[in-house]
């Protein structure tokens, strides 16, 4: 294709997204990639904690980010801004089954592949001189005792680097971590370890009462907070460099409006805050407004980034949201589209991760079922009382055969 032609195509492709303000997109800093290993490992264990609130049932998650333009999230290297694509693909699953009446065994797998590449792709990246492709896998086994409401889960976590371009700082190409999770009722403790070093420890108090886990659907107990405290061991051999992060999630109104604040101490202070509205407590749909404090080390500034997002069952749109800033390489200044789907199930309840009540899908199903049932009595003359039972539920049949005699009833009473 001629260069002139290519220019035309490129301009044409730019017009539409420009209308959405993509032209003001900010470049992705190099430093965001070297941090991602620890971020995605932390995020995966956070999600596992949420799914382990019940300790049984199942969970499925799929998703990938879609950024149509090469100029949307360019890479900022010492050479300048390189056009290309930041990407993130993730898949997760958890399933469990009963081994005895009171105990359940399960397995879980979380996988994420993310980075930056010169081309957009689904499976095979281009792996150019400025690509960074790495993946994080967390897997484990779970055991839940239903009567005592206890869950134990543990497994391994792998960080694998597929490809690192020349401009990135040196890093180990493959790291193996282990993790463990212990939950009793509303309390849980989670640990992440590298050999014998503790990488982080998290204590969670999910005090809020949730209907899906046998709690209440309304009342004072649903207004109890969910608090977690994480101790990060920033450098394994210097224990003085620890940081603590506290996260507070609070139901503000009927488990559909929540506020969330996270705070780092002793030094950093305010980290992020969000106001989230879930039209339904199953959290299939979400509207959120977020605010996050930018990282001086990476972005060079220490200010607040305001943004928001809308999440539907299969797609999520966001602009400057704190979730993308943390999990998608400090992406900002551009609209992010993520095709994603997640669904958790327990005891026949279906909900998105973190949800407190079952999705309304099911009530619709039940209503339909009721409508389909035939009216009482099928209006047929039965020779034998046992025939009546065979014709129940088969509203379509208008004829009934008996030995020797044939009775027929038509709708308009003709015959």
């Amino acid at each position: 294709m001629g260069m002139q032609m290519r220019k035309v195509v490129k301009r044409a492709l730019c017009i539409l997204p420009m209308a959405f303000g993509l032209s003001v997109a900010d470049a992705v800093p190099l430093a965001a990639f070297s941090e991602t290993g620890s971020h995605s490992r932390d995020q995966q264990l956070l999600e596992i904690r949420d799914v382990m609130r019940g300790g049984r049932g199942g969970f499925l998650d799929l998703g990938f980010n879609y950024t149509p333009l090469a100029s949307q999230l360019p890479l900022e290297s010492p050479y300048g801004e390189h056009e290309g694509y930041a990407f993130r693909q993730h898949v997760a699953g958890f399933g469990s089954g009963a081994v005895t009446r009171q105990s359940q065994l399960g397995a879980l797998l979380w996988f994420e592949r993310s980075g930056w590449d010169g081309e957009d792709f689904f499976v095979y990246p281009k792996y150019n001189a400025f690509s960074h492709v790495a993946s994080t896998t967390t897997w484990g086994l779970t055991y839940t005792h239903i009567k005592h409401d206890v869950t134990f889960a543990g497994g391994m976590q792998h960080y694998n680097v597929e490809h690192v371009g020349d401009v990135y700082p040196e890093e180990s190409d493959s790291l193996l971590y282990s993790w463990a999770h212990l939950r009793w009722n509303h309390f849980s403790v989670q640990g992440n370890f590298y050999r014998s070093n503790v990488r982080f420890l998290r204590l969670s108090l999910d005090l809020e009462s949730r209907l899906v886990y046998g709690g209440y659907s309304k009342g004072l107990l649903t207004y109890l907070p969910n608090i977690d405290l994480t101790v990060y061991n920033k450098s394994a051999d210097k224990f003085s460099a620890d940081t603590y992060r506290m996260n507070w999630e609070q139901n503000l109104y009927g488990q559909i409006l929540y506020a969330e604040v996270s705070y780092d101490f002793p030094d950093d202070g305010f980290h992020s805050a969000a106001l989230k509205y879930y039209p339904d407590a199953s959290r299939m749909v979400a509207f959120e407004a977020t605010c996050i404090r930018r990282n001086k080390k990476i972005d060079g500034t220490d200010d607040l980034l305001w943004g928001g997002g809308i999440e539907f069952p299969f797609v999520r749109f966001a602009y400057n949201s704190s979730y993308d800033y943390e999990n998608f390489f400090h992406a900002k200044g551009t609209f992010i589209v993520e095709f994603q789907f997640n669904l958790a199930s327990i005891d026949g309840f279906l909900f998105a991760r973190g949800g407190t009540r079952s999705a309304p899908l099911e009530t619709i199903k039940v209503e339909k079922k009721n409508k389909d049932l035939p009216p009482e009595g099928d209006g047929l003359i039965h020779l034998n009382p046992s025939d009546a039972s065979t014709s129940v539920g088969s509203g379509k049949t208008k004829t009934l055969e008996a030995t020797g005699i044939r009775y027929e009833k038509s709708g308009n009473g003709g015959n």
């Binding site: 220019k7 195509v9 050479y79 390189h82 957009d120 001189a129």
Partner: protein, 137 residues
């Protein structure tokens, strides 16, 4: 009749779509079918009495550089086509001499150029005052 004929038509079409979607999913998104993700650069020395020794891309702060065209291009000659993962605006460093046979002191010229990707033909000329000028053809 019409409906069944439609059905007979739509079903294989649907199957074909699914069949095509698989390789598309494997090769990735479509954009790099018409957008280039690398630059193939050829340099022409269109000056009359300067020799170009090399072309490198340098970091904005000058701390690192990456060689691109490592070939002496005498007046009137063209370099080989060299492929590079450079798409965007980058600072280019051209080393040259004020002689027709690449002898004498090496001089350096810096310029920020916009690489759009694909085949790019860079023509270097000299102004009357002896300044190098760059133009994509």
């Amino acid at each position: 009749m019409v409906r069944s004929a439609m059905k007979a038509f739509v079903r294989p079409l649907f199957a074909l779509c699914v069949f095509c979607a698989l390789p598309l999913a494997l090769t990735g998104c479509l954009s790099h079918w018409f957008l280039e993700s690398e630059t193939r650069l050829q340099l022409e020395n269109a000056t009359e009495d300067y020799s170009i020794i090399s072309l490198d891309v340098v970091a904005l702060d000058g701390s690192i550089y990456s060689s691109w065209i490592r070939q002496t291009v005498l007046p009137g000659e063209r370099s080989r086509v060299e492929e590079g993962d450079w798409i965007g605006e980058f600072k280019v460093r051209v080393k040259y001499t004020e002689s027709k046979d690449a002898s004498g002191d090496t001089l350096v010229d810096y310029r920020v150029l916009d690489f759009e990707g694909g085949s790019m033909y860079l023509q270097v000329t000299a102004s009357e005052k002896g300044k190098l000028q760059y133009k994509f053809r």
